[in-house]
Amino acid sequence: MSRIEYLARRAALAVFVLLGVLLLTFIVSRVIPGDPARLYLGSRARAEAIQQVREEFGLNDPLPQQFLRYVGSTLSGDLGYSFRTKRPIVEDLRTRLPATMELVLVSTVLAVTIGVPLGVLSASQAGKAFDQFSRIITIAGVSIPSFWLALLLQLLFFMTLDWLPLGGRLSRDILLTDPFTQVTGFFLIDAALAGNWEAWRDALWHIIMPAAVLATYPISLSVRMTRASMLEVLSETYITAARASGLSEIEILFKLALKNAIVPTLTVLGLVFAFSITGAVLVEIIFSWPGMGSYMLNAILSDDVYVLFAVTLIVTIVYIIVNLLVDFVQAALDPRIRMGGGSEA
């Protein structure tokens, strides 16, 4: 099978999975006890008003027709209404998605820049003290509940030392006295574009704790996965040959071995990104970070289940796209990819 064919298969599978995801969320959302129209209007609404809303939202149409409309509207970017804010969910997400993405990107960058080198080092020291130590630390890193670690950091850096702010994205006085225009929705970029360095510093100070908490799991994960794929490569004969020919250990590790270990490591990147997006939900709640996680918490508190569907759907779509991108980059980097059969699952 050629590479093009392989990629076409992956893309077709992604489209199929996307439709399946839509079908599943549609089915679950129709199982919800209680009439969505009644939920929307509140419990004391009159019967005629409920009928009217049912008509308006097409809830009286046959289910297959409803499903088709659901697919159509979702793909065109309409995620329905929030029952709590009475606004389109997409509108609400417009400011929240960049907030979450900023956090996720910072944490992914941390995971790769810290995790991959440590993984390489750990593999080169396999079995020695550093490796043993890093095993314990990384297992602790994947085990520690993010929401608990966040509280501990708040206790230390806010309550005890008073070095970092407790939560939020910016201090209130910066928002009042020194606002900057939001271009990308990424405060670190927007403040820099505006040349507002005071606000930039403030935004940086606010992102340190949440990003560090969010990065703990991904960093540990990338150390472990990089170490595993490095160990595999390091046992190859060409590495032994390179050693015999007198290449320095650094050159062997970073030039020869990492090059071949980078493909499996790339899969980590996809995983890391995916984990961070979900992890962000919990981290945002603790740090009052105004992203999708806080939005979901508000929805949970006010029984606004359609918001949960919408956010889950968005994140899942991002997930599918990122995985597809990873497949593409992998195929570009690794000439050995000629896997047969999608049934290989």
Binding site: L13, F16, V17, L18, G20, V21, L23, L24, T25, V28, S29, V31, I32, A126, G127, D131, R135, I136, I139, A140, V142, S143, I144, P145, F147, W148, L151, L152, Q154, L155, M159, L166, R227, A228, L231, E232, S235, I277, T278, V281, L282, I285, I286, M296, L297, A299, I300, L301, D303, V305, L308, F309, V311, T312, V315, T316, Y319, I320, S343, A345
Partner: protein
């Protein structure tokens, strides 16, 4: 070389503990951390089972408040302090272990049963059955587990059973994949072909030949995932979609403690979180150790 018989005589009835060098359990026992974590987990399970006997305040552990003692810092009488309703935090943490372990093991059990059954059927029959089951699996795997579980739990209304159901729905596909891969390779073995040849029914073959061969990789994965299952349960409780009060739950206790750390009541979220962390860490270390034992490729690095 030990003289034959000496090993047995010295070790007496502890002989089962003396593994042959190079065997799986020999490797496992060399991994002191894994052995240690197994002991920690055993102690945790014991503490959860015996909770009412360990704490002098079993009623508070089950949820009855004691308003006069609220928010007391750790002391000899209350080693972990008391919570906002005056309950002994140590008793709450002990009873919380019950919730966490029951939920964690239930999720693993349901997911393993469901996933293994579907995966074995897909792998054994192949063809359209296989395609159908595995594409459904793909769809479930596409969701971020925590978010899907949150959505389902929100639809079902918060309770212990519902959070177990919600998480299990997101959990089984992994087992289906492993089981399928294994079933496909077992299907082609001579003894299975022979069984088909002499007319043994499909159901019998799956039960007698396919399933026993799936159990090892499945159980390893189940051990590896136990910590994650417990973590997800507590995350659901943390966002308010898990066990409703007054049942003790670590995630809910941490969530409750958030407000109190700003008044310097650090113990309220710290101890439940520590218990959660230790439980997950022990499960992960155990899973890691077992994986190294089961996968000889990884042994090289662990020595």
């Amino acid at each position: 070389m030990t003289p034959i018989g000496l090993r047995e005589r010295v070790l007496g009835r502890w002989r089962w503990m003396a593994a042959e060098p190079g065997s799986a359990s020999w490797y496992f026992k060399r991994d002191r951390l894994a052995v240690f974590s197994l002991i920690v987990l055993a102690i945790l399970i014991m503490m959860a089972v015996l909770a009412p006997l360990i704490t002098p305040y079993p009623e508070q552990g089950r949820g009855s408040p004691s308003i006069m003692d609220k928010l007391k810092p750790p002391s000899l009488e209350h080693p972990m302090g008391t919570d906002p309703l005056g309950r002994d935090l140590f008793a709450r943490v002990l009873f919380g272990a019950r919730t966490a372990l029951i939920a964690g093991f239930s999720i693993q059990l349901i997911s393993v049963l469901l996933g293994t059954a579907l995966g074995a059927i897909a792998g054994y029959f192949g063809g359209i059955v296989d395609e159908t089951i595995m594409r459904v699996t793909d769809v479930f795997l596409a969701f971020p587990p925590l978010l899907l579980a949150m959505t389902i739990a929100a639809v079902l209304k918060p309770s212990l059973v519902n959070s177990v159901i919600a998480i299990s729905i997101t959990w089984w596909p992994w087992y289906a994949r492993i089981a399928r891969a294994q079933a496909v390779s077992v299907r082609e073995r001579d003894y299975v072909r022979a069984a088909v040849g002499i007319g043994v029914g499909d159901r019998m073959i799956i039960i007698r030949h396919i399933l026993p061969n799936l159990m090892t990789p499945i159980l390893i994965q189940a051990t590896l995932d136990l910590g994650a299952a417990i973590l997800t349960v507590s995350a659901l409780s943390f966002v308010g979609l898990g066990v409703p009060p007054p049942t003790a739950d670590w995630g809910a206790m941490i969530s409750e403690g958030r407000i109190y750390i700003q008044n310097g009541r650090w113990w309220v979220p710290t101890f439940p979180g520590l218990a959660l962390f230790i439980t997950i860490m022990a499960s992960n270390l155990l899973g890691d150790g077992i994986q190294v034992v089961a996968n000889p490729q990884l042994r090289r690095g662990s020595q």
